[in-house]
Amino acid sequence: MISLRSEGRAMGAVISRNFSLIRRYLGWEVVFAFYNAVNALTIALIGLAEPGPGQGERVLYLAIGALLWNFLSVLFFEISNSVMWERWEGTIEYSFMAPVRRITYLLGVCAYAVVYGLARTLVVLLGIFLLFHLPLAHADIGGALLVLAAASLPFIGLGLLGAIMPMLSAERGAQATQVIQGVLLLVSGIYYPISVLPHWLQTVAWFSPATYTLTAVRQAVLQGTAPGALLATVLGLLGAGLILVPIGVWAFHIAERYALRTGKLKRNG
């Protein structure tokens, strides 16, 4: 019981620390939110470039891509860069020599990333609603949110896998997480159907959870597909999460042992 309370406090400490950092870097947070919103709006505006029927749906198609990518990329970035951030501040040794289970520390990082990602996405959503009149009469928002919730799990798993990179190599690790994020952006059909990709890239797209997330959310919002019809995708995403999260935690453990063996945990390692 005491141990459970201790682990809860440790998890809360990680979340609270990150929100305190947001408060201290508030200027940057405003700039990031502004840039995200403007970026999403410019992408959605492409949908207005071609006049004629279906214009609203085109804007909605692009807006969904921008919103989902905003959430999933923030989720991936925050988790995968948690180690790099601590290395940069020089606090990683202090966090890792505390008697807290690593899973607790990682759960804290993930919980913060979900809340922070949702908040950032909400700002973008607000911007889109202010600028566009979106045809949402047939949209099944509940179904879209269900898919989004299920998609969080595999992205948390991918983020955990990304988080091990900075432990393997301080600088190159951080670069590697950017490359992973870039590949996901390219292949997942964020702003276009994956059918426009070269065939070999389409094969890569099959392995991205974002591909299935976007397809299902677009079905829910653009075609009003009911949650029941999206169940296969939701279960698939949950299944992918149930595989990727434990793999991510296990890989993190292995990478930490490697860092402890080779001395790569320290700041300039």
Binding site: S3, R9, L21, A98, T262, G263
Partner: protein, 265 residues
């Protein structure tokens, strides 16, 4: 009971810049055949030139490194097989006061207390008591760490370590780079800790006077090996040539400890 038992510990590293994707270069030995036993309640000093392996030894004690061979136990717990148990007993103050620099002392200490499962309000009261004793102005408590002097940051680092009531305190050059007054404050506080908390202390330092004042025994580390281990008085008598512990350090390592400190600072 032994606070630390170290038996034939060795640790080596590949040179920095090596990546898992390149051809491996030869490993460099950081520690070789380190053996010693430190009784509970002792203040054990480690002296040595830069790169002699002091910080590596401290990192092994606080489970931040795994030894290549040998055994190290902290209060009977093996640092490799029972790291979580060891972590509950230790804390460390390193030469860099590693904090989230934009966060205040209070926010950093809240985070540290939370990681150790401590109640936030109780931890805040305890931290305030420690910082008062260390002479940190209360107005600084809510200021970002980046606005504090190095001496003030180091005092917060000591508060962070003591907040968790460690049985073994690992001090890795805690006074390096501090002004004389902050240095005296920290040294006096280390004496208080020994008296009030009965903590066992490992102290790495370049300051011979500090070692003389605080340590019961001192080990001299050179090229990853202990080349001497005795009380400061015995070391000075055996190797000092009338120059005290500083003379002994010079004779044993061939280096001037004051040069080392300037380099570190």
């Amino acid at each position: 009971m032994l606070a630390i038992e170290c038996v034939d510990v060795a640790k080596s590293f590949r040179p920095e810049g090596d990546s898992p994707f390149r051809r491996k270069r030869e490993k460099v030995a950081a520690l070789q055949g380190i053996s010693f036993a430190m009784p509970e309640g002792e203040c054990f000093g480690i002296l040595g030139p830069n790169g002699s392996g002091k910080s590596t030894l401290i990192r092994l004690m606080c489970t931040l490194l795994l030894p290549d061979s040998g055994q190290m136990r902290v209060f009977g717990r093996d640092v490799v097989t029972a790291p979580q148990e060891v972590r509950r007993l230790i804390h460390r103050v390193s030469v860099e006061a590693s904090f989230f620099k934009k966060l205040s002392a209070q926010e950093n200490l809240d985070y540290a207390a939370g990681l150790y499962g401590l109640d936030r309000q109780t931890a805040r009261r305890h931290a305030q008591e420690i910082l008062d004793r260390l002479g940190l102005p209360r107005a600084k408590y809510r200021a970002p760490l980046e606005e504090m002097s190095r001496g003030q940051q180091q005092k917060v680092a000591i508060a962070r370590a003591l907040l968790t009531s460690p049985t073994l305190l690992l001090l890795d050059e805690p006074t390096t780079g501090l002004d004389p007054r902050s240095r005296r404050d920290v040294q006096a506080f280390v004496e208080d800790i020994r008296r009030d908390y009965r903590a066992s202390i490992v102290l790495c330092t370049h300051d011979m006077q500090e070692a003389q004042r605080l340590c019961d025994r001192v080990a001299v580390l050179r090229d990853g090996r202990f080349i001497a281990l005795d009380t400061p008085e015995e070391l000075a008598a055996a190797h000092g040539g009338g120059q005290g512990l500083e003379g002994a350090f010079l004779a044993l390592t061939g280096e001037d400890p004051n040069d080392e400190e300037e380099l570190d600072a």
